[in-house]
């Protein structure tokens, strides 16, 4: 049996209080084995981004526990959570969130410098791996949406984290570009034991995952495994 990368137990997240209280997650428990390509899917407001934030230690839970790659997230203070994100998590956002004043190379190197080592080689290598070796000196404003998302993937990968968390990574892209990005993510999982969690409301994307967790109203309403995931080239939306 695969080693567990992420384990959540009775995870609850509540925002506001009194009349404005919103239960974004309700007693959610699950396990994600290392090396899985997981899709968290559900409609808007189902709690999928909140769950991603819990796994990424971007905000603390109201109750329950999360354990990820050897870190017990509940007991961590701000510095501890930062350390966890630095060592264990690569984030990919829908709107890329690249620093517009830095080139593709520099956006990636900014994070590479945090972890030390040979920044130049690692950055070049990871940019090559996402197919941007020849575009590395371009600024975000000079890159297409797909290229910007690939820079953001490279930025997440450069730390070589065991876990990649992707929040609607194709949400701002057309089908062809989105497919390319998904292919890249799939390759990342297939080439090692890195775990990828993708949040989406697009059911087509779930076809490429090993594991699909369905969320509705803050609860997991189903988990199913794909023994034979579809190749990203074969999905369309």
């Amino acid at each position: 049996m695969n080693e567990i990368a992420v384990k959540a137990s009775n995870l609850t997240k509540t925002y506001g209080d009194g009349d404005t209280e919103v239960h974004a997650l309700k007693e959610v428990s699950f396990e994600i084995p290392r090396g899985d390509f997981v899709v968290l899917q559900g409609a808007s407001g189902s709690g999928k981004t909140t769950l991603l934030n819990q796994i990424g230690a971007l905000e603390p839970p109201t109750s329950g526990e999360v354990e990820s790659n050897g870190f017990h997230l509940n007991g961590l203070d701000d510095d501890g959570r930062t350390e966890y994100r630095l060592k264990s998590v690569g984030f990919i956002f829908q709107f890329y969130n690249l620093v517009p004043s830095l080139t593709a190379y520099e956006n990636v190197a900014l994070i590479a410098e945090l972890t030390g080592g040979n920044v130049r080689d690692r950055t070049d290598q990871v940019l090559e791996s996402v197919g941007l070796g020849d575009r590395k000196d371009h600024f975000p404003g000079q890159l297409s949406g797909g290229e910007q998302q690939r820079v953001s993937i490279a930025r997440g990968l450069v730390k070589n984290p065991p876990l990649m968390l992707c929040d609607e990574p194709t949400g701002a892209l057309d089908t062809d570009t989105g497919t390319q990005v998904l292919s890249l993510l799939r390759e990342i999982t297939d080439s090692g034991d890195r775990t990828i969690v993708v949040v989406t409301h697009n059911s087509e994307i779930s076809r490429i995952a090993n594991r699909v967790i369905d969320l509705r109203d803050g609860m997991i309403v189903g988990t199913h495994l794909n023994d034979d995931p579809t190749s990203p080239e074969n999905v369309a939306w």
Binding site: S44, T49, T50, L52, N53, G56, L58, E59, D78, D79, T82, E83, R85, L86, K87, V89, G90, F91, F93, Q94, F95, N97, L98, V99, P100, S101, L102, T103, E106, A109, L110, I111, E113, L114, F139, P140, G141, Q142, L143, Q148, R155, G156, K159, D167, E168, G171, V199, H201
Partner: protein, 786 residues
């Protein structure tokens, strides 16, 4: 209120601290303008009211030949003229001896010109020759009250009244002695008949002239001057040149300059702050703007809506500023009239000034909000609805271009460097804000430096003497030796002082010519005192259009003599514009021109005094007391008293300087705070991403800090240059031939200004750094999720 109006008010409430900072800047600018300009107008009105009520002379002619009174009365534009006599004579009051001024007045009623306000007691009694009125400053300096007695030229007189005179609102002895130490000069008004008992060259006949209303003053001045010159007048003084009046007007003129310059700085800063805040608002509301446009709002309507933020803040700030300015104007007028002893206080609210102030505030807001409002009008709705601004093209910073090794610096450093150029308008706004603040701080601090340097030079390099003794007997070697032998006195020298009119062609300047012995120790001459010829005060170069090497004529009216001498040099002295000669050369030249004026005549106490320097560590007061005990000494002026007087004057100045420092710092804080807040607000997603990627909030904050200090430093460099120019211009507005100060800013002041601005920038950063720390990474990610 329209829904858009409600939206505007709520937007402002949501960003209240940024708008408060903008509001404070507008309020300060408008209040300063309304206050200072009202004070300027009110002071002018107060002075004019006092002059009109007391019939201040438009022209004072001294020493004209008989018959001049009739001549001047016949000049077109002259309303009336009167004659009087005045004399500078030894006095003893409250145990002190001094050379005071006695002015003759009709015994039975106030004169038609230069009346006085009786603030205590009564006007003169024609039957009582020993009853006198004492001018208010003298009464205060010598603690004289009604019924007190003192001596004038050996005669005992009684104080029957205390009066305020329009001629001595500022108690200047003459144009060259505008700072008269308390206890060394005083003015007494006495029956004309009393003047008859005073003799000697110190007694002068004067004609006071009053012009008709509505005449062109300069035209009548020219006619009266021409007539006075024909009547061989010793001194001709227009109202503009009258010592007290010109001193007060210099101050009022400086106030006018400040009333325009200072508010302009603040309103420019307020405009930039408004621009930055509204630009940020427009940026953050792109989605809303796109939706409203898609819903049918016209571009003009939305553009007007965003302009209303600027106009609204400008108007509210201007309204508050106008009210505060009105109060400030009233307060400033009251303080200034008290400081200058102006008897009438006119404290009107000048409606045009208030309206102008309101307009300034609203216009500053309106102009500043035009660029963001235009952005709104030009925004494509579809793109705007997507919310985020599409990524703009980036480029390497100018620093990396200029210094290639920086291209290999850590990316965080490069990001900081490029942050400077990311939003050029905002960076320019910040740099300009720092420049404006530096200008204000340096103008204030530079003024203080200039004053301190001027006083330091005056007392340590120019007027080196510690005391000046005036005698009532001729001053010869024995008198000088006796002063020099006084315990505590190191050395003493005789000094000749003569009232003089220096002429070069048609141009003339009335001043003093002082004669010092060669190698004098009591006065500093940087290039030495020439054995022949004259040294002129620097201001005379322009006033007389004279160059070194030219000859000038020196008219000595008290001696009825005129000499022609070569200008050997110009001296740059901070507190007066005088002329200097070697005393032997001066005596020879006068004797050659008029053989009746011998060395013995020049030794008369009206012309020669003794300046002394104390032993190091000696008690000045003790030395002064002992010199006063010397037979024949009429008065002793202790230089420390003049220093004290100037320090009091400086205190008044320091208040303004302090205001400049506080306001300049507040302006810098408000502007930098706003720009950094906007910077952080705009980049929340970027910072959240970095935090999500593992950067600590300290590292993120250090980038903002680096950018802020870099921009502040970029602003400081030109700010110090412009600030120096502003300090020079500001001090020049106060400089005159009476007070020919040269602007000087000490190196340390530049350093302290730069450090001060960096500290202000650091303080402005505190809320922004807090905001970075408070970024809720999860919330940012969640709110941006579909």
């Amino acid at each position: 209120m329209s829904i858009l109006g409600l939206k505007r008010n709520r937007d402002i409430r949501r960003q209240k601290w940024q708008f408060v900072a903008v509001l404070v800047t507008v309020v300060l600018g408008v209040a300063l303008f309304a206050g200072m300009f009202n004070a300027y107008l009110n002071l002018g009105s107060s002075l004019e009211s006092s002059y009109n009520r007391l019939v201040m002379a438009d022209m004072t002619v001294t020493g004209a030949e008989d018959g001049f009174l009739d001549t001047v009365m016949g000049i077109n534009g002259v309303a009336t003229a009167i004659g009087r006599r005045q004399a500078d004579v030894p006095m003893e009051a409250a145990g002190d001896s001094l050379v005071g001024r006695v002015i003759g007045m009709p015994g039975d009623d106030q004169p038609d010109i230069n009346k006085v306000d009786i603030v205590d007691g009564n006007y003169l009694n024609p039957e009582d020759n020993t009853g006198v009125m004492v001018e208010e400053h003298m009464a205060s300096d010598f603690a004289l009250e009604l019924g007190d007695t003192f001596e004038i030229a050996g005669q005992t007189v009684t104080v029957t009244g205390i009066a305020v005179s329009p001629e001595y609102l500022w108690p200047a002895k003459d144009r060259q002695t505008i700072f008269t130490p308390p206890g060394t000069f005083g003015v007494v008004f006495a029956n004309e008949s009393m003047l008859e008992s005073l003799e000697g060259p110190a007694v002068q006949n004067q004609i006071l002239v009053e012009y008709q209303h509505g005449v062109v003053v300069e035209d009548v001045d020219a006619k009266v001057e021409s007539a006075a010159e024909s009547a061989n007048a010793a001194d001709i003084q227009t109202l503009a040149d009258q010592p007290s009046n010109s001193t007060i007007n210099e101050e009022i003129g400086g106030l006018q300059t400040m009333a325009v310059a200072l508010p302009l700085l603040f309103l420019a800063a307020a405009g930039m702050a408004i621009y930055v805040v509204i630009t940020r608002l427009v940026y953050s509301q792109r989605g809303v703007i796109g939706t409203l446009r898609a819903s049918g709002f016209r571009a003009k309507t939305l553009s007007r809506h965003y302009r209303s933020y600027g106009v609204g803040v400008g108007l509210v700030g201007a309204a508050i500023g106008a009210v505060l300015g009105g109060l400030m104007g009233w307060g400033m007028t009251a303080i200034y009239t008290r400081v200058f002893g102006i008897p009438d206080l006119v404290a009107d609210i000048h409606v045009p000034t208030i309206l102008l102030a309101l307009t300034f505030g609203a216009v500053a807001g309106a102009i500043a909000s035009v660029p963001p409002a235009r952005t709104v009008a030009a925004m494509p709705p579809a793109e705007a609805m997507r919310g985020d601004l599409p990524a703009q093209g980036g480029k390497r910073s100018v620093f990396e271009t200029l210094i290639p090794p920086l291209r290999r610096a850590p990316v965080r450093w490069r990001m900081t460097l490029r942050g400077v150029g990311r939003n050029k308008r905002r960076s320019v706004a910040m740099v300009v804000g720092v420049i404006l603040s530096a200008v204000m701080i340096l103008a204030a601090a530079g003024s203080m430096d200039t004053m301190l340097t001027a006083f330091d030079r005056q007392f340590n390099e120019v007027s080196i003497e510690d005391a000046q003794s005036f005698f009532e007997i001729p001053v010869g070697d024995p008198e000088v030796k006796e002063v020099a032998a006084t315990p505590g006195v190191m050395l003493a020298e005789p000094v000749i002082g003569l009232g003089a009119t220096i002429r070069n062609g048609s141009k003339s300047y009335t001043t003093l010519v002082e004669g010092y012995q060669q190698n004098t120790n009591v006065h500093g001459f940087p290039s030495g005192l020439p054995t022949s010829g004259v040294l002129l005060g620097q201001a005379m170069k322009d006033l007389l259009d004279v160059e070194v090497g030219q000859r000038v004529t020196i008219e000595l009216s008290d001696l009825d003599t005129e000499i022609s001498v070569l200008v050997q040099g110009l001296v740059d002295e901070p507190l007066a514009t005088l002329s200097y000669m070697d005393s032997s050369a001066l005596t020879d030249a006068i004797n050659k021109a008029n053989d009746a004026v011998t060395a013995e005549v020049l030794a008369l106490p009206s012309f020669t005094s003794v300046k002394a320097i104390y032993d190091p560590g000696a008690s000045g007061q003790l030395a002064v007391d002992q010199i006063r005990d010397i037979d024949g000494v009429a008065a002793v002026v202790d230089a420390t008293e003049l220093r004290n007087l100037l320090q009091q004057f400086q205190l008044f100045f320091y208040v303004f300087i302090g205001m400049g420092l506080v306001f300049g710092s507040a302006m810098a804080f408000a502007l930098i705070f706003n720009i950094i807040s906007v910077n952080v607000a705009e980049r929340v997603s970027e910072f959240a991403t970095m935090r999500a990627s593992g950067l600590t909030h300290r590292k993120v904050a250090s980038m903002i800090t680096g950018e802020t200090f870099l921009l502040t430093t970029i602003g400081i460099v030109p700010g110090l240059v412009f600030g120096y120019w502003a300090a020079v211009a500001f001090m020049n507005s106060f400089s005159s031939d009476q007070f020919p100060i040269v602007a000087e800013v000490r190196p340390w002041t530049f350093v302290l200004t730069a450090v001060g601005l960096l500290v202000v920038a650091g303080l402005s950063l505190i809320p922004a750094v807090g905001a970075v720390k408070r970024i809720n990474v999860g919330e940012v990610v969640r709110e941006r999720a579909v």
